[in-house]
């Protein structure tokens, strides 16, 4: 069942993105930025945690989960140490994604040549 939920949720988010892309003049960059802000908004009211409980990995894969884990990490340490905690903890949950993307992109650009 969780597999079906993952499929439906991730597909649905992508469908909304495609809907925006087809019907407006926004570029993919605009759409991804919009979705990150949306994910941050949903998490600041605790809604995104419910979504993850129901839809499992399907909710962790779209870029909305990037905004979710930024707010989540910031709030986790912000509750203990106030405004400074927001700054300290913001990347604590997303660092794995960003750092590995940077490292992998750097070494692949050394190894491979651009094709076009």
């Amino acid at each position: 069942m969780i597999y079906f939920n993952s499929f439906v949720f991730c597909g649905f988010v992508c469908l909304i993105g495609q809907l925006i892309l087809d019907n407006t003049k926004l570029t993919p960059g605009h759409v991804t930025t919009l979705f990150v802000i949306l994910g941050a908004f949903l998490d600041s009211f605790g809604i995104y945690d419910l979504i993850i409980d129901i839809f499992g990995g399907g909710a962790l894969v779209p870029i909305t989960s990037f905004g979710h884990s930024l707010v989540h990490g910031a709030l986790l340490s912000g509750i203990n140490s106030g405004v400074m905690g927001l700054v300290v903890g913001m990347f604590s949950l997303t660092s794995a994604g960003i750092i590995s993307a940077i490292i992998i992109a750097f070494f692949f650009s050394l190894i491979f040549e651009p094709k076009n």
Binding site: C14, Q18, F106
Partner: protein
């Protein structure tokens, strides 16, 4: 040429999008990536005996590695042209944007090319993610209460 004539001309030459086809393609490809994400989480929990939160970190890193590899090998761009949001919205699009910027600008030098342009496409995601997370975090801490 009046404005009306011009907008008619623009409309005539804009390529027509088949909305049903592009939307269902985005739905099925995006859904399949979500399914793969859940499958990878279960796989890592079973094989490596780690907690679910660690397994989801491994899952994200795996997806980033696969999509960076496909981008570097050169056939990911063609798939993205067809599928668009089905791949751009999942974390694969983030990795694709970063790797393609790195590949493209490396020939202009390591500092002024690669170094200053690697975040060219993903910078807006990180910037506005951080700004919105800061503002929403402040609101949550001081207005609503933790």
């Amino acid at each position: 040429m009046t404005n009306k004539e011009y907008s008619n001309l623009v409309k005539k030459h804009t390529p027509k999008v088949n909305h049903i086809k592009s939307m269902s393609l985005a739905f099925f490809v995006g859904g399949f990536i979500g399914l793969a994400g859940q499958f990878l989480i279960d796989f890592y929990v079973k094989i490596l005996n780690v907690s679910i939160s660690n397994a989801s970190t491994y899952m994200i890193v795996t997806l980033i590695f696969i999509s960076s590899l496909f981008t570097a090998l050169g056939f990911f761009d063609k798939i993205i042209e067809k599928v668009r949001c089905g791949i751009i919205i999942p974390i694969t699009g983030f990795a694709h944007a970063m790797t393609s910027a790195a590949l493209e600008y490396r020939k202009e030098g390591f500092v002024l090319g690669l170094g200053s342009n690697i975040f060219k496409l993903t910078g807006s995601v990180i910037l506005y993610g951080v700004i919105s997370a800061y503002i929403f975090g402040l609101i949550r801490l001081f207005v609503i209460g933790a």
